[in-house]
Symmetry: C2
């Protein structure tokens, strides 16, 4: 149904009117994203474990729809030091269960029990986790960018410059979780910024997603209570059936 | 594909050879179920929050496949005092997001923070939670049985006798999470026991599921690491694509 709608949209709107101008959903500013996240924990009493599990699962599911494991077997998930990296760790584990061969590059690991457990779960699910940059990314079919999320503020720290250079120049398909890493949340991306083919916005798209020019834009994180959606006027699109992600 | 296989199976096997005799998966004894659960937490370092979220989501998804909200709008989820009840609370919240009108009967509530938060999440997602038995269940289209799980040992406590009587005698479709409540995990169910139309086995089916005669049997809880599956020789069926449940 949504695909028919997208086709219809493409047929009637010329290139002069970008698809993003049809406001199907609200695009969040950084403050709004931070506030909604905080409310999910403080007011709605969700645990990080719960929401990270659902977020990471929805990312793995969207990737499966766009880059199925029969065609894209080997995946490198690049995890940053915060919650975006945590989503990546969950995503890598579910992708392994979906039939991918997942590996994780996680250069700055924290001692928080949640993160130690997520790494432990990966390793015990046959997902290799390493903290030094792989010599080459030639062997991977897709790269999952879980480096920086909606609380990112530039500049990129020195530790991440090498991997950012790789992401900026690779011709492998990149799947970005929530934000293409390095992009300003509210601004227009730099011309040499990373160019993901798939963006999975979580909860609701952020302002910068208006500039996304890749093939697939999905929304994941189907856990927003109706009252919270209404309060922030998110105008979320309907998810099909019991699915955990929806194409925008 | 699986449906074609099931059809084929039904065509070639007579009533004298029950479908369950074709061992697609292992059926767990109570001790095995308890040990696997313990290993998921102790060895694989999953949190209860994580696995309960995935289990409850897979139950809601299986129910959506069998009893979609367009035809079965109003649902009562009956939650017991343990983890099975917790799965039910998660299931009720996801069903509300899927378009059902969910209510929860939760007679024996605990003070554990996880459970208090699950109830809080339900209430703040417009799922009514009550602890006294509804006067009538006439208004509900389906009943979800999340009373007792794999650690249940008879007899049923007095607090639950009334709701058990209702479940035993109703003609509404019942969806049982993991175990049809009141059934012995390893034995043969009593002739006046509850008769669910849908059973969602979690992790792996339990011994008693061999006696299940309802319309739909699903497996959910797609989180078992390969090493654990191999250790207990679970012979789990392949889940389709990125789906969180599979019909057995």
């Amino acid at each position: 149904m949504l695909n028919i709608f997208n086709l219809f949209r493409k047929l009637i709107f010329t290139d002069n009117i970008p698809a993003q101008s049809i406001k199907m959903v609200k695009y969040l500013k950084q403050d709004e994203a931070i506030n909604i996240d905080q409310e999910l924990f403080d007011v709605y009493k969700f645990s990080v474990d719960q929401l990270m599990e659902l977020a990471g699962l929805s990312c793995a599911t969207a990737i499966h729809k766009c880059f199925p494991p029969n065609d894209y077997k080997k995946v490198l998930v690049i995890c940053g030091p915060g919650n975006n990296g945590g989503d990546g760790l969950v995503c890598a584990r579910h992708m392994q269960l979906f039939g991918y061969s997942s590996e994780v590059y996680y250069p700055v690991q924290t001692n928080k029990p949640l993160y130690c457990n997520l790494v432990h779960q990966c390793i015990n699910s046959n997902v290799t986790v390493f903290n030094s940059l792989p010599e080459s990314i030639i062997g991977y079919d897709i790269l999952v960018d879980a480096l920086f999320g909606f609380s990112f503020k530039p500049p990129v720290r020195p530790t991440f410059l090498n991997i950012m250079d790789i992401l900026k120049t690779t011709n492998k398909p990149i799947c970005s979780i929530d934000i293409p890493s390095g992009w300003s949340i509210e601004g227009v991306p730099e011309s040499d910024g990373i160019k993901p083919e798939l963006l999975i916005s979580l909860t609701a798209p952020k302002e910068c997603a208006r500039s996304f020019k890749g093939k697939y834009h999905y929304l994941g994180g189907r856990f927003v209570p109706k009252a919270l959606e209404n309060k922030y006027q998110l105008e979320l699109p309907p998810y099909p059936n019991a699915e955990c992600c929806v194409q925008l």
